[in-house]
Symmetry: C2
Subunit: 180 residues, 2 copies
């Protein structure tokens, strides 16, 4: 259960409300969850029930009250334990590859069109990632080593889109060659 640990991690960085977490998830590309209410608020309740976080209700003038969650000592231990555990493999699900597998039934222009729109979508993502991410920017890191790690995370995602982009460009050339 990784959202749980993602939230614990963010709270280990600083106390946050559910609304804050939601925004981080929906803005950030590294924290790949959609940031939907259901998951965030339910997970926070679970963490609270398990004693991994504490919370404080803050009344505000002219704004709704908010609940600020703070990681507990037990929560820090749980997070540290999870980090040390052997890493899982990345999950890559590219339904475009499934489309391609049966795309031989398309006419050459249709196939070319499909590849062109995939290339454009990938390129757009690359551009989005290439703009500095507001969360986890190395300037906010607590140590040079953390800054290096955060920069590496960013690089990892950029490289993914770069590789994908190169791949689709190369495939388009190969297909053009085969048809001539």
């Amino acid at each position: 259960m990784s959202v749980k640990h993602a939230i614990l991690g963010l709270l280990s960085w600083q106390p946050l409300s559910g609304y804050d977490l939601k925004k981080i998830f929906s803005d950030s590309t590294a924290f790949y969850w959609s940031g939907n209410n259901n998951q965030v608020y339910r997970t926070l309740l679970e963490l609270y029930d398990e004693g991994l976080v504490s919370r404080e209700i803050i009344q505000q003038e002219n704004l709704p009250a908010k609940k600020i969650y703070t990681i507990s000592e037990k929560g820090r231990q749980e997070l540290r334990q999870w980090i040390t555990v052997n890493p899982e493999l990345p999950v890559l699900r590219n339904s475009f590859l499934i489309q391609l597998a049966w795309a031989d039934q398309l006419t050459p222009p249709e196939l070319e069109n499909l590849l062109a729109s995939y290339e454009e979508e990938i390129h757009t993502q690359w551009l989005i990632h290439n703009q500095s991410s507001p969360q986890l920017s190395p300037e906010q890191a607590r140590s040079p080593r953390e800054a290096l790690l955060w920069s590496a995370i960013h690089q990892n995602q950029l490289r993914f889109y770069q590789t994908e982009w190169d791949w689709v460009k190369h495939l388009r050339v190969s297909l053009a060659e085969i048809q001539s």
Copy 2:
């Protein structure tokens, strides 16, 4: 709903039983589903109820009866339509990156150990993918263009692990430099 179309695609290639599909999913890396019974058999029923496939029950001596599913004309149309639709972005979920984000609390040897085990897992996956895949091998393709597409799908996955491997090796070097 992509399993549905993945199954339709496989059936457009040749008639298959639920058991066959299960095996293809669990053996193949391109068809990334786990190949669990629940999903395969339920999806086949849905496809049947929607008239996208027909089926034939084949009694066998000394073996349980099997249901061979064949794609229908309506199924072929549905598949073709899905293929032409604009492609979705690949879904990449790497919980290791979330671990890394908070890994500054580890000691240098602990962090080095974490990265080493990730590198090994990625390398193992690379080796697995590097062996020729039994499904969708270009030799079984119905045209040179299909062979090219299938080869490209395979290359796409290999490149992913290669990129990831390069990335983690580079990160290990950078971390070693920062500590000296």
